[in-house]
Symmetry: C2
Subunit: 111 residues, 2 copies
DNA sequence: TCCATATTTCCACGATAATGGAAATATGGA
DNA sequence: TCCATATTTCCATTATCGTGGAAATATGGA
C-alpha cells in the first residue's frame, strides 16, 4: 500500500499551520530552519510546533537534524514530488485535460 | 486566500474512503457514476457515502447532477489539476529538483 | 394516488486530532 | 559542575471528524 504514505502526507498538509511550516521550509531551501525560528515566524508555541513537525516528519515531508542546541528542519523535495506524482497518476490516466495545464504551467512558471 | 481552497481539497482527499471515491470517479471518466454504484463498489452504507461525497463536493473535487432517480457524480479535473499546481508552486520556486521528476514522469507515463 | 427506488438529512455516539501548560532532555559555555 | 538555551515529551482538555440508524425528500412508474 503506497497510498498509505500518500494519505499520511495529504493529511499532514491538510492543516493550516503545517502547510505553512512546509511552505516556509521550502522557501528556506537546503539550509532549512531551526524549530525555534519556525515557531517565531508562525507565532506558535514551541511544544505545539514540535507536535506539528513530528507529524510532517512521520509523513516524510520534512527532516530534522540536530546542529548544536538547535534542530534544523528541511523540506524533503523527493517526498513532495512523490506526492504530486501520486496525484497525477490518479488523475492523468489517459486524460490529457489534467496533465496539460500542469505541464504548461510548469514549463512557463517554474522549471 | 486561495490556500483555503487547497486546504479543503487536501483534507477532503486525506481520508481513505474519500480518496477511493475520488479515484473511482477519475477512472469512471466523464460519464461518472451514480452514488449507489459508488456505495456498492466501495462497500460503504449510502448515508455514510453521502456525507463523504458532500465533503468532496464542497471542496470542488466532484460534482453531482441528478439524472432521474440517481445522482451522477463526476470528478472535477480542473480542481485536481489546480491542487497539483498549488503544490508545485509551493515547491518548485526555482528548484528543478522537484519539478524535473514530475515532468519526466508526466511525459513518459501519462500525457 | 400509491409504491418502490435512490439519495439525502438529522442526530448522536465513539474515535481521532489539535492545543498548550508543565516537566523532562540535550547541548554548549562559564 | 551549574546555568541558559533549544526542543521535546507527557498529559489533559476541547474541538473536529467519521460513522451509521432512522426518518425525510425526490423521482418515476403503475
Amino acid at each position: 500500500m503506497e497510498s498509505k504514505l500518500a494519505l499520511s502526507q495529504l493529511s499532514a498538509l491538510a492543516q493550516e499551520n503545517r502547510l505553512a511550516v512546509f511552505r516556509l521550509l521550502v522557501k528556506a531551501g537546503r539550509d532549512g530552519l531551526p524549530a525555534g525560528e519556525i515557531a517565531t515566524a508562525l507565532d506558535v508555541p514551541p511544544n505545539t510546533l514540535s507536535a506539528q513537525l513530528n507529524i510532517l516528519s512521520n509523513a516524510g515531508l520534512v527532516e530534522g537534524n540536530r546542529q548544536g542546541r538547535s534542530i534544523i528542519y528541511t523540506a524533503n523535495y523527493d517526498a513532495i514530488s512523490g506526492l504530486i506524482l501520486f496525484l497525477m497518476e490518479d488523475c492523468c490516466q489517459g486524460r490529457a485535460e489534467v496533465c496539460s495545464p500542469i505541464m504548461a504551467a510548469a514549463q512557463s512558471s517554474c522549471c
